[in-house]
Amino acid sequence: MKILIIEDEVELAKSIASYLSSNDFICEIANDYKSGIEKVSFYNYDCVLLDLNLPDGDGIEILNHLKQIHKTDGIIIISAKETLENRIECFQKGADDYLTKPFHLSELFVRIQALIRRKNFKGSNIIQFNEISIDLLAKSIFVHTIEIDLTKKEFELLLFLIGNNNKVLSKSAIAEHLSGDMADMLDNHDFIYAHIKNLKKKLNESHCTDYIKTVYGLGYKWQND
């Protein structure tokens, strides 16, 4: 999978690249508008991460440019601008997703995965992970072909964990992912403990390998030994 990161903050671009690279993603970085336009014109990417505030131009123009040259790269906007108007404008101009800074890399990662899945959608939308298969359309989960019943939150938690396979996820990243728009209203992240416990229990009951590991002081990890 090829990803282009158009972001003028070199440090941020680098840390995104390093997080994604360890998951078989090939990342390229453009630090300004000009090189961003060049790269999207000459190459094809599965996903473009686009910052709107670039020193030599408006990121929105890159959206327009992609539309003009009929490219269908998936685009995720990463921006400090968080107004509804901004989001709507970006979506109207062909963006697929919008993440407001600051964000967790794990969140960005599952968004990229979801975007690529949508782009490559060929009739079925099933994630297979060893003995677990997840049907994203039917929202159903099978372990060893036996369906298990998860709540909506548990389902999302499982997807988030599997998506960030072998990564340590901080409690705040999980909590914010599960809360969506309401993340700002969280006072603490303790509520995820109950969801993790229940998910673990349900997976164990259907003889699933215990992938969910607790990382002390930090959070949790979906570990595939």
């Binding site: 903050e9 600051p102 002081g217 959070g219």
Partner: protein
């Protein structure tokens, strides 16, 4: 006690006019009377002189009886030594026609007819003078009253017109709110002082608006600019926790930093939100059913409350419909929820009540009443909750003010109660 400017001026006018009237009326009366009496006495002297010059030389002693008969106001009586020359004195004489005593001035003078001394007694009736004085007095009072009333009315009308720009300016300043985007417009005035006043106020307001604007922009820019460094810290933290050989101690530190960063992030977002509310970036109004909005978030907050074993009870006694901005109204509800959960003890209870035009958030508490003075001020933290960033309530207040609603806080039966009163 304060008085209106016009009222105060007119009051002094009236008092002055009244005093003038009271004092001048008797003075006028006595003066007129004195003048009249002098006039009457002069007439007496004139008639005496006339008599001495014209009548007396042609008179003989026999004529005296005839003359006394014809003359109504004059008598010639024999001379006696007791009388005093040219003396005018006051006397009353009974008048049979009017059936009352009438006042007279009498002049007695010594005359000689055919070389024999006689006394000429001339008298003048003063009754006419009293009527005259009374009429003059009434006329005078009437004129003065008309004059004063006219002056009062004219002053009043003139003052109202004259002070109009001042009252307009006053009203404009009273209605002026620095965070609303409406500059006051002052009526142009031809009076120099008002013109100067308007100029000075306009200048003052302009300066204040500029300062307010730059302060607002500073907050918004600062909060905005902080987002990128925050994003970098966050992404490095996310990368750092992937390190395989972290010790437990290191992991603990990172975990704590993570918490602080997410708190920082929330604080920053709230600051941005506040400055956006202040710069009117949420103008779209729509009808909102408050009940529905609360139900929408009830699950989320019930889950948050369960961590502290708090139960939430929602009583809907009324379907509350408001016309407002959806996003802002949602923020009010969410912040009230969050606030209630934050300040409720373990195993506590939260009650949400919708009554007619009112929304109540009650939460049980072991504390005392909150300090109401600074409750809705920015960064006013309650000492027993170091977790809050002190912006939640000030955001609520700001939105409530925008909507012209009202928020009240009180403490009753160990419950903190926040009550929102929607428009009546």
């Amino acid at each position: 006690m304060t008085k209106k400017l016009l009222q105060s001026t007119l009051q002094k006018y009236l008092v002055f006019s009244f005093i003038v009237l009271i004092i001048s009326a008797p003075i006028f009366y006595f003066l007129t009377e004195k003048l009249y009496l002098e006039d009457a006495d002069e007439t007496l002297y004139l008639r005496r002189n006339e008599f001495v010059k014209l009548t007396m030389p042609k008179m003989s002693k026999i004529d005296i009886v005839v003359w006394n008969k014809i003359s109504k106001d004059g008598k010639i009586i024999p001379y006696s030594k007791t009388f005093r020359e040219n003396n005018i004195f006051f006397t009353t004489k009974y008048d049979a026609i009017t059936n009352e005593n009438e006042p007279y001035h009498v002049l007695k003078s010594k005359i000689k007819i055919e070389k024999t001394p006689y006394v000429l007694v001339l008298k003048i009736n003063l009754i006419e003078s009293e009527d005259l004085i009374l009429s003059v007095l009434i006329l005078f009072s009437l004129t003065l009253t008309i004059l004063l009333t006219g002056m009062y009315l004219i002053t009043k009308r003139l003052s109202i017109k004259l002070w109009e720009p001042f009252y307009n300016t006053l009203k404009q300043i009273e209605q002026f709110e620095i965070d609303k985007h409406k500059e006051p417009y002052f009526l142009p005035s031809e009076i120099e002082e008002f013109h100067r006043l308007n100029d000075a106020i306009t200048k003052l307001i302009k300066n204040n608006l500029l300062i307010f604007q730059s302060q607002k922009e500073f907050i918004e820019n600062a909060a905005h600019e902080l987002q990128t460094p925050l994003a970098i810290i966050q992404s490095y933290l996310d990368s750092l926790i992937q390190q395989p050989d972290l010790t437990l101690e290191q992991a603990n530190y990172i975990g704590k930093i993570n918490l602080v960063v997410s708190k920082f992030n929330k604080l920053n977002k709230n600051l941005l939100l506040l400055s956006k509310i202040e710069s009117n970036q949420f103008e779209k109004m729509e009808p909102i059913l408050v009940n529905k909005l609360i139900k929408k978030h009830l699950d989320f907050f019930t889950e948050q409350a369960e961590i502290k074993n708090i139960t939430i009870h929602f009583h809907q006694e009324y379907q509350m419909k408001v016309n407002s901005n959806m996003l802002l109204t949602e923020i009010v509800i969410n912040n009230l929820f969050q606030n209630a959960i934050k300040h409720t003890h373990e195993y506590g209870r939260i009650e949400i009540q919708i009554l007619k035009n009112r929304l109540l958030f009650k939460n049980s508490s072991n504390d005392n009443k909150l300090n109401t003075n600074q409750l809705f001020e920015r960064f006013s933290k309650s000492h027993n909750n170091p977790n809050g960033n002190g912006l939640g309530l000030s955001i609520i207040k700001k939105i409530i003010d925008r909507n012209h609603w009202e928020i009240k806080y009180y403490f009753e039966n160990q419950y903190h109660i926040f009550e929102i009163i929607f428009e009546n």
